[in-house]
């Protein structure tokens, strides 16, 4: 339990620099991206069934476009719309974190 708390605290510190969203919980979102987006995009975000999500691979999109893709998905592909599960602020936080390569 103590370890868990420490881990959470450490992750919060890591994510604390991002102020993109008032309502984003950085530790929770970082875990979501790594673990759940990671099911398709790879735990290291280097790609799998889905495309790589490294900063380098995302150069051609800006954070706003990425946030839209996260929220609305890409029809005709397995990329689902996350709008039912994420707020716009959270999607924006993830988009910016991916662009900066800090996830």
């Amino acid at each position: 339990m103590i370890l868990g708390t420490l881990l959470l605290a450490a992750m919060t510190l890591v994510g604390g620099g991002a102020a993109a969203a008032d309502n984003a919980d950085p530790a929770k979102l970082a875990n979501l991206v790594r673990q759940d987006c990671g099911s398709c995009h790879g735990l290291a975000l280097t790609g799998g069934l889905g495309k790589p999500l490294t900063a380098e691979a995302l150069l051609q999109w800006d954070a706003g476009q990425l946030a839209q893709i996260i929220l609305d998905g890409i029809p005709g592909t397995p990329m689902p719309p996350w709008r039912p599960l994420l707020t716009e602020g959270e999607a924006r936080w993830i988009a910016e974190a991916l662009k900066s390569g800090r996830l």
């Binding site: 370890l3 790609g47 397995p78």
Partner: protein, 390 residues
Amino acid sequence: MIARICFFLLCAALAAPLHAGELRGTGDLGIIVERASGSILIVDTSKRGVLGRVEGLGDLSHASAVFSRDQRFAYLFGRDGGLSKVDLLTGSIAKRVIQSGNSIGGAISDDGSLVAASNYEPGGVRVFDAGTLAPIADIPALGADGMPSKTVGLVDLPGRRFAYALYDAGEIWIADFSESTTPVLTRFTGIGKLPYDGNVTPDGRHYLVGLFGEDGVVHVDLWRTPLKAERILDHYGRGEEKLPVYKMPHLEGWAAAGDHLLVPGVGRHELIAVDLRSLQETGRVATYGQPVFAVARPDGRHTWVNFAHPLNDAVEVIDNLTLQVVHRFKPGPAVMHIEFTPRGHEAWVSVRDADRVQVYDTGSFAKKAEIEAAKPSGIFFSARATRIGQ
């Protein structure tokens, strides 16, 4: 970071060293993949305990394993293209190669001589000598359109063959190594959009591939010649709105349950029961969430199911005779995988975000043990060595 190091030190302390000099069998051993740390735990399923941890296995997101015929070695397929041969007795890496840039899974031939890996980058399938991991064959997956394709649903078939599907191209290929190490390929093109996984029934007869890009399943009856790829369950969700899919279903646990199969309905909170003789739908089971794994207990009496994010905290148990959910419980946050002991008296369930694996009695559903593991995902027991398609 400090917390993470502390955590691993704690786990390391919990893992007793293996005693290489001690005589023992391996039929009750298994591995638990710790996906975030590139390690596995070697477990003793009789004692419900950890024998040791093997580290340095690379990116293990979506890692899976097959076993040598003698059940001593696990072949682990990592996301980063790493293929590792792990000695369960010594708890060490016997051999490791980086065979591609990005891998999804693998299989071992029925004679135990060939290990095949299914790749996303650069696509295709690569085949290795099971003893040395020396390369044997490289089979690029160029679809009918000439484009390279990711491969999914790779399984072994009787007769030193492998079957798999081409995700991008929508094809099924069977690679036959029965005559030599140069495979004879049988290709079925235009089978449907985005095949996402495939599996073969435990008798080695029916190879089935699920489609993501359209509703339906593709079936190859391997007992009939000439081989044909035929659609079944066509448009099973016609006119119904699909839900967003936050995790691809897997067909790995698609064991036949009595006289039918239970197939995850993609984008639906249900399983579809398919009669194995007529290959027609015979019923549906409404489930708690979108099924990811639907794993039949080895005797076929029950099927245990876990679910996609965000309803991934629960497991449901389905009575295969009545197609009713007879038990639902919540092991904890992010249930990743379910593995039965060889004859099904216990089920091991990985609970990723609780950093543990929980062991259940499959008769009473009582929890019998908890095993600490760092972000556990796949659980693979050595008895898989004796089964077709695993």
